[in-house]
């Protein structure tokens, strides 16, 4: 839309010629300048510039939809109104049906809490045929840290869906729908993303899993000068891939303990810093997700996994449809199961504090 040619827009001849003469050929060129700049560049009256821009804007602007239409369309064409059920009743209820299509869901937690297990289970669920609650499609699993275990996945499948997995050839077919990529560098990851774009357009992939995102960042955990984050292009691409192909994208991330001098405050809080720091030791838990604010804004749902005093918890940390809820879970042969379907609501002080790097 942004690259629409001005010549194809059927503006009045006179103004169209003037745009062409000044080498402004696409809508993007014209709309990137202010009205006064255009007026000076094209040497025409402000009113003419305004009417040309109004016409151009109307053409470039994407059509609107009412929220009702959006909902009805999704209910009609997508599985469960656009969700991949996780088969964890409490979690699915909190997420209005399951992992949503079209947005990025993040799994955060220290190593060993069960993120990869969850990803394996989700991949399996997406590959399953529709009458078993699956998406009946391909899955692309980007395994950065080589933690993917096909044996574990088949074990999960055989344990949760014995009737499918024990019938001949089904295990092979299900496993065959899951494509595992193991990029060893950021540039390989970039290439893979480009190729994924193509297969998504062909509509065969129903789930993308990236395990884990922060392992891709070169330089690891060193303090980086703020500026263009090395993954910002990838973040934008991933979110747009999710949206346009209407698939769920699940990404895992590690955490590291937070040190106090790295916490970020607003200017009006700086004066009260001492009091806040004291409060923080009391209130905020000491885990922090990496990748900074750009990523944090791009993610729609954040599930935080943690292990406290021998018990594992999955906290719905950021979700547009659910208050912060904590579910305790265990890992068993069939994957993950919740100990109880009612999550406990978390009080605000227990939620994680995000700090940028």
């Amino acid at each position: 839309m942004a690259n629409k040619l001005i010549s194809e827009m059927r503006l009045p001849k006179s103004i169209a010629n003037i745009f062409a003469a000044r080498n402004i050929t696409t809508a993007k060129d014209a709309l990137s300048l202010t009205e006064l700049e255009l007026m000076k560049l094209l040497d025409v009256e402000l009113s003419e510039v305004r009417s040309a821009l109004a016409l151009m804007s109307e053409i470039v602007c994407p059509p609107y939809q009412t929220a009702l239409l959006l909902m009805e369309q999704r209910a009609a064409t997508e599985h469960l109104g656009g969700h991949l059920p996780t088969r964890l009743k409490g979690l699915d209820a909190a997420l209005c049906g399951g992992v949503p299509f079209g947005v990025v869901t993040e799994l955060v937690g220290p190593p060993g809490t069960g993120k990869t297990q969850f990803c394996l289970k989700l991949s399996l669920l997406a590959a399953l045929p529709a009458h078993y609650g699956g998406l009946d499609g391909g899955v692309i699993y980007i395994d950065v840290e080589s933690t993917f275990s096909s044996r574990r996945m088949i074990e999960m499948g055989a344990s949760s869906f014995p009737e499918i997995f024990h019938s001949k050839g089904m295990a092979q077919e299900m496993a065959g729908r899951i494509l595992v990529l193991q990029p060893t560098s950021l540039s390989e990851f970039t290439e893979s993303l480009e190729k994924i774009k193509v297969s998504l357009l062909q509509n065969q992939v129903k789930l993308l899993v990236i395990d884990s995102m922060e392992a891709l960042v070169p330089g690891g955990h060193e303090q980086r000068a703020p500026g263009q984050h090395p993954l910002s292009w990838h973040i934008s691409l991933i979110t747009s891939l999710a949206e346009f192909s209407r698939i769920p994208i699940v990404v895992t991330n590690q955490v590291r303990p937070q040190s106090h001098d790295e916490s970020c405050l607003y200017p009006f809080q700086v004066q009260k810093m001492d009091r806040i720091l004291k409060d923080r030791t009391r209130y905020y838990s000491h885990i922090v997700a990496v990748l900074g604010f750009h990523w944090a804004h791009a993610v729609t749902i954040r599930l935080v996994l943690e292990a406290k005093s021998g018990q594992r918890f999955m906290n719905v940390e950021k979700s547009p449809t659910s208050p912060p809820l904590a579910f305790s879970f265990t890992i068993n042969p069939s994957g993950i199961s919740l100990l109880t379907d009612d999550g406990t609501e978390m009080v605000v002080p227990e939620t994680c504090n995000l700090s940028s790097r």
Partner: protein, 292 residues
């Protein structure tokens, strides 16, 4: 004598010429009110201000109290905060609350929701719409009113006009197009942009140009708010800025320096900070402990 030869500043000359006054005699024969077309008397402004008492409730009593009843029409309000704090939630809430009928104390208007990040969740909008209808029924029962609650959650969803914007070009285009759109849909009373900074943070090589384009956008939104008596709500992201020896949080792109914002709310985990930038409101910061 030609206006172009008058010893006045170039901007003023330009304005006179574009208004059609090309010679000195034409200026002399016009009255001052003709030439100052586009300005208003103080009395007219007072009348307008009283009209703009219409406010959209945020469904949070504490927040409404601080804001003087809710988000005001004829104003541009910026709301910022860290990810996950509830900005989109508030945006969706406002898109529903603007539709509360006049009999129930609302504006009975429609909403435009401009989504730049894809964070609008239809399921959530349905939940909020259902809660709103329930509240209205409750209010009816409580007051034993005769006014019927005719609205259904689906009707509420039908009155939210949703634009999905994928680049800063489309963002500039939709803001230009809003003038025509709102003229055709006069009952739109709120325009929510979620979020204003997103597309401008990456991909703009010329930062000075970016500032100029954003100022242009901010001004257009202000004019839109005033022309159609509607509320414009800008949701914004946070980023970090290096000031006074440490990294501090600030709202992305510093829209408040565009001088067109009326109020500026920052959501923090424990507190809500409001910086009222309107002329005449003296309080620099107010802190409210609100619950999410």
């Amino acid at each position: 004598m030609e206006v172009s030869k008058l010893p006045i500043s170039a901007t003023q000359r330009g304005k006179l010429i574009s208004a059609g006054y090309t010679s000195l005699s034409s200026i002399c024969s016009a009255s001052s009110s003709d030439i100052s077309r586009g300005t208003q008397t103080a009395w007219d402004m007072l009348q307008e201000e009283q009209e703009s008492l219409a406010r959209i409730t945020t469904s949070c009593a504490d927040l409404d109290n601080i804001l003087g009843g809710g988000i005001g029409c004829r104003e541009v309000t910026e709301i910022g905060g860290v990810p996950g704090i509830g900005k989109t939630q508030l945006g969706i809430q406002l898109a529903v609350n603007v539709q509360i009928p006049v009999e129930f104390g609302g504006l009975g208007g429609k909403a435009i929701y401009i989504d730049t990040e894809g964070s609008f969740m239809v399921e959530r909008a349905l939940q909020i719409a259902e809660a709103c209808v329930e509240d209205m029924l409750e209010y009816n029962r409580f007051l034993r009113n005769d006014c019927q609650v005719k609205t259904q959650p689906k009707d509420i969803l039908e009155n939210i006009f949703y634009f999905r914007i994928c680049s800063y070009t489309e963002q500039s285009a939709v803001i230009n197009y809003l003038d025509k759109f709102v003229s055709e849909h006069k009952d739109v009373k709120v325009v929510i942009i979620d979020s204003i900074a997103f597309h401008f943070r990456h991909g703009f090589v010329d930062l000075a140009l970016r500032t100029r384009v954003l100022s242009g956008i901010a001004l257009k939104l202000m004019n839109l708010a005033k022309k159609f008596s509607l509320a414009v709500v800008l949701l914004n992201q946070v980023t970090t800025k290096y000031t006074e020896g440490s990294f501090q949080l600030c709202l992305a792109l510093a829209m408040n320096v565009m001088h067109t914002l009326t109020s500026h709310l920052i959501f923090d985990q424990h507190q809500l900070h409001i910086q009222l930038l309107a002329e005449g409101s003296g309080i620099p910061h107010q802190e409210v402990k609100g619950s999410k």
